[in-house]
């Protein structure tokens, strides 16, 4: 028993890496630090990265941001007014060290404010106030030009970002979610993240979500234009809190351990090696991904090194490239009780979340194919799964996510599916990016639901 505790402690010590205040915290944990002996099994490794705290605003890295506006006809009226207001509010938070550009697109692209230092805010505001809405939507071209403006002053010491505000479909140039996702991926290679804000019920949420997720940026949904400035401001503020960029994570699995798949992030798995990258780490936010590994059968009381995680990133505070590494090992026992006792709740919550997310995404796909009943069943299953685990793991987050899934399930038959789908995509992107809370994700009004009355009828 004593040795067991010692192993447990060792695993704990190995699994956590203490850092000084101005370094990213790398946290590698096993879902089950103690595994059942004599059987081949899979478990999850959670790799969490948490940004350090910024002492004050002066410390933040200078930004190089391009705000790309959809000014197509559909943006008319209050939308364009709010978009102008949002852009001005965001730019107002910048100072003379920062660089901003404003790109407009409808069927063609105009560069309203070429990349410039934010020293004369008034003239930039005056330009923004002239934006009027008309035309169709050359989203790809707008993004290309926005990226080009960012590229003029691209510098790894800056936060190189694009903010895209659109309420429409892309109808000029490459227009599939896949292609825009590829664009996001290629921008991410240059260290440019894209934050996309979808406005109203008309935009293509798959495209906007792909563009953001593949470039490691945020995707938000703004149903009501009056909320645009607030959401934009939140996303903008989050961007300003970036403490590390060019993040590379390499997971080396020890001999005998086979990496199966990544959850929560894409990466290259080759043999024992898993390589993935992030564009940034935000201050005081944990970003994580999960690696499912296959662990070979082992004798009880033996110890097995599972993986070593190496982290390299550009510290935006010190402008140095920091390197960290951390290892995790597993212990084996023939006691199920010990296994269950060892469960790492934090990792389990993340696992449950990611699994539920996959189901949630599959439900969207099913609903797209018109298989609403199947989607609803899947989501209902998700709800039980989440509530069940919320109880087991005592997780408020899982409970609230379960609630969201319930609302998703209730709204599949909603006649405003276009809006519901956008909310779902938004929620999915937030969960995928490891958001610790779903605060701010719009909650669907639980319809005085035709779908539930349908259910009743079926029951009869």
């Amino acid at each position: 028993m004593k040795s067991m505790i010692r192993f447990f402690l060792a695993a704990f010590v190995l699994g956590t890496f203490s850092t000084n205040a101005n370094q990213v915290k790398l946290n590698v944990q096993l879902a089950k630090p103690v595994l059942e002996s004599d059987t081949k099994q899979t478990t999850f490794v959670k790799i969490g990265l948490t940004g350090f705290e910024l002492a004050n605003d002066q410390e933040r890295a200078p930004v190089n941001v391009s705000i790309v506006f959809d000014k197509s006809g559909s943006m008319g009226g209050n939308k364009i007014v709010q978009a102008r207001r949002a852009a001005k509010m965001a730019i107002d938070r910048l100072n003379a060290n920062d660089i901003v550009s404003v790109v407009l697109y409808d069927s063609t692209v105009k560069i309203l404010v070429p990349a410039t230092k934010v020293s004369d805010k008034e003239s930039i505001f005056a330009q923004i106030d002239r934006i009027a809405a008309s035309g169709s939507t050359a989203l790809f071209a707008g993004m290309s030009k926005g990226a080009d403006e960012v590229r003029k002053f691209i510098n790894k010491d800056r936060l190189n970002r694009i903010f895209l505000i659109s309420d429409g479909q892309a109808n000029v140039g490459p227009k599939t979610p896949q292609e825009l996702g590829e664009l996001g991926l290629s921008l991410a290679k240059e260290g440019i993240s894209v934050t996309t804000i979808g406005l109203g019920a008309g935009y293509n949420e798959d495209l906007m979500a792909q563009l953001a997720l593949k470039s490691d940026g945020r995707h938000s949904f703004v149903e009501d234009a009056t909320q645009l400035a607030q959401i934009f401001n939140e996303d903008f503020g989050e961007m300003l809190s970036v403490v590390a960029q060019e993040v590379e994570v390499v997971v080396d699995c020890k001999p005998g351990i086979r990496p199966v798949r990544l959850l929560g992030r894409e990466g290259d798995i080759s043999g024992q090696k898993v390589v993935t990258a992030m564009n940034q780490i935000y201050s005081k936010q944990e970003q994580y991904f999960l690696l499912e590994v296959e662990v070979p059968a082992a004798e009880k009381d033996s110890k097995l090194d599972v993986a070593t995680v190496s982290l390299a990133y550009l510290n935006m505070g010190t402008k140095n490239r920091d390197r960290l590494s951390s290892s995790v090992a597993a212990r084996f026992t023939n006691s199920k009780a010990v296994v269950n006792k060892s469960l790492n709740k934090d990792v389990m919550i993340s696992c449950v979340t990611q699994i539920a997310l996959e189901n949630n995404q599959r439900a969207t796909a099913l609903r797209d194919q018109g298989r609403t009943k199947e989607a609803e069943a899947l989501l209902q299953g998700n709800v039980y799964f989440l509530f069940d685990n919320a109880k087991k793991l005592d997780s408020e987050f899982l409970r609230s996510y379960g609630g969201f899934n319930q609302i998703n399930a209730d709204n599949l038959g909603n006649d405003k599916w276009a809006i519901e789908r956008k909310k779902m995509r938004y929620q999915q992107s937030r969960v995928q990016q490891g958001s610790q809370s779903l605060r701010g994700v719009p909650v669907q009004k639980k319809a005085p639901s035709q779908s539930s009355s349908v259910k009743v009828k079926i029951k009869k």
Partner: protein, 550 residues
């Protein structure tokens, strides 16, 4: 007469006007075509510029790719993967051994999902049997890296032709290879190392498009440098990839100029849509103005000329009418004293005859006075009849009369003058019945005919007057053995103021209206005066309609 004249005037004005307008429009069309051609050339030149911009972008990428492909062929797999992760335009690196088999990536258990995706995407490329580089032997593209056959390679020149290869001194060292997959045309870029290895990369299509677009102009905010139209870049499926310029063409608009993009993007095209205001209407405003002014001036000149000639003409006609009326009035004024002179001369002659002094010289002199005054009287009658005819006031005054009596008395009147020229007149009268006719008409016509005999038949000649009834008309023939009238001029003599050739009319006076008036009188009397064909001399045939005896 007048409507005909107006028609002629209209013709004179409208014909040159039409000609002018036609020439103008031809000129305009020519000018338009010329301007259009130049305009198209201009648009094409602009497209060429943009094409060059894109070619430069591609050239930049090509340099970048060539540098990337300089890596050693035995580079570590991890580093090759890192290139795919870090390089903006690289989706996947690949290395082929000199025998054409894959060195990297390999479809083994440790292949990453990206590498598997690469083989999935490029399967058709390797299946086509394309050879990248100058590998010496038919190769088996084998993604497992050994010589086992995964894909049977068809070696052939036509498959090589598919590859858009860049030549360097005859030997291919590097090139682009397009293939179609997913959303459009994709590219491989490859370079053959001196070791014979082919080092290549799968180009990130979307990143390449974004790069090409970002180098193209955007729609300018500044009106002064604004593109006066719209240029669109279209992909192989004719979808718009990018466009700029403030002009928004209709979807049905045809581009004014089109240009294929240079290799390797040759399945793309550039199109120019000109803004309507920009497109020339064939003429510059000033040329059009000049032409319009020219045409208007031409019209004005023609109209002025037409009006001028019309007024001249009408003035002359008025003058002529005034002259005729003057002559008419004078003739009237002359007629009364002449009639008195003639009457008293004839009375005097009769008194002389009664006194039996016929052979006296005075009697002869008196005869001359009588005959000359008769001749003058005929002339005046003719003039007055002509004037009447001109006014359309001729109408016969039929009375019951014996034609032969009238003819005989008329010949009697001419007797002295004919005798003086020793012209013998024979009369064969067969119209002795009284019929309804105007004796003045008959007398005046016959007088004119005999007057011609007197004038034209040479001394010692012979003439014959013949009358007969022919149904309901009277026919009077006057033959002579004078010089005759050539057949071609037999109608012309009836035209007013016509006198025959100088030879004939030399030294003979006359007004030239006698025959014309005679014919008009005959026709007014429901008959005709014509010339009959004869072997010699002249034969006038007069027909007059006669009513039955009253």
């Amino acid at each position: 007469m007048k409507p005909k004249l107006i028609a002629i005037y209209l013709l004179i004005v409208l014909l040159p006007l039409g000609l002018l307008a036609w020439l103008g429009s031809e000129l305009a069309r020519d000018e338009r075509q010329r301007v259009e051609r130049r305009f198209h050339e201009l648009l094409r030149a602009q497209l060429e510029d943009r094409n060059q911009t894109m070619a430069n972008t591609i050239a930049d990428r090509e340099r970048e790719f060539l540098a990337l492909c300089e890596i050693p062929p035995d580079m570590d797999v991890a580093e090759l993967r890192q290139l795919g992760r870090k390089q903006r335009f690289v989706r996947q690196m690949f290395i082929l051994k000199p025998n054409g088999a894959f060195q990297y990536p390999l479809l083994t258990a440790t292949a990453t999902a990206k590498e598997r995706g690469f083989f999935e995407r490029t399967k058709s490329v390797w299946e086509s049997g394309i050879r990248l580089g100058g590998a010496p032997e038919p190769q088996n593209f084998d993604s497992r890296g050994n010589s086992g056959v995964m894909v049977n390679v068809v070696q052939g020149s036509q498959s090589q032709a598919m590859s858009q290869l860049q030549m360097k001194s005859g030997h291919r060292e590097y090139g682009w290879h397009p293939w179609f997959w997913g959303n459009g045309v994709q590219f491989l870029f490859w370079r053959q190392a001196s070791s014979g290895h082919v080092i290549g990369l799968e180009v990130d299509r979307v990143a390449l498009i974004a790069d090409v677009l970002s180098e193209l102009p955007e729609t300018s905010e500044d009106e002064t440098v604004q593109l006066p139209g719209r240029i669109a870049l279209r992909d192989a499926q004719h979808n718009v990839l990018y466009q700029w310029g403030a002009h928004e063409p209709d979807s049905s608009d045809e581009p004014m100029a089109r240009l294929p993009v240079k290799s390797p993007l040759s399945m793309w095209s550039l199109e120019y849509f000109a803004a309507p205001g920009l497109y020339p209407e064939g003429f510059s405003r000033s040329t059009l103005f000049n032409l319009a002014v020219g045409i208007v001036a031409g019209c004005a000149l023609l109209l002025w000329l037409a009006v001028y000639f019309y007024r001249e003409n009408t003035r002359e006609m008025r003058d002529a009418a005034q002259r005729v009326s003057f002559v008419n009035q004078v003739s009237h004024e002359l007629k009364t004293p002449l009639t008195n002179i003639r009457m008293y001369a004839e009375l005097l002659q009769a008194q002389f005859d009664a006194a039996g002094r016929s052979a006296s010289e005075a009697d002869e002199n008196l005869g001359v006075i009588v005959s000359e005054s008769q001749r003058l009287s005929r002339m005046i009658n003719n003039v007055l009849t002509f004037a009447k005819g001109q006014r359309g006031q001729l109408s016969p005054n039929r009375r019951s009369e014996v034609p032969d009596a009238v003819v005989e008395s008329t010949i009697e009147h001419f007797k002295p003058a004919l005798d003086a020229k020793q012209i013998d007149v024979e009369f064969a009268g067969e119209a002795k019945d009284s019929v309804a006719l105007d004796p003045d008409y008959l007398e005046q016509i016959l007088g004119n005919l005999l007057s011609n005999v007197e004038k034209y038949v040479p001394n010692g000649g012979h003439a014959k007057v013949q009358t007969r009834f022919n149904g309901r008309s009277l026919t009077v023939r006057v033959f002579d053995d004078g010089p005759g009238i050539p057949e071609a001029q037999r109608e012309a003599v009836f035209e007013p103021f016509t006198r025959l050739s100088n030879k004939l009319s030399d030294g003979i006076t006359g007004t030239g209206i006698g025959l014309s008036i005679s014919r008009e009188l005959a026709r007014t009397h429901g008959g005709e005066l014509s010339i009959e064909a004869t072997e010699r001399g002249t034969s006038f045939k007069l027909e007059l309609e006669t009513k039955d005896e009253a």
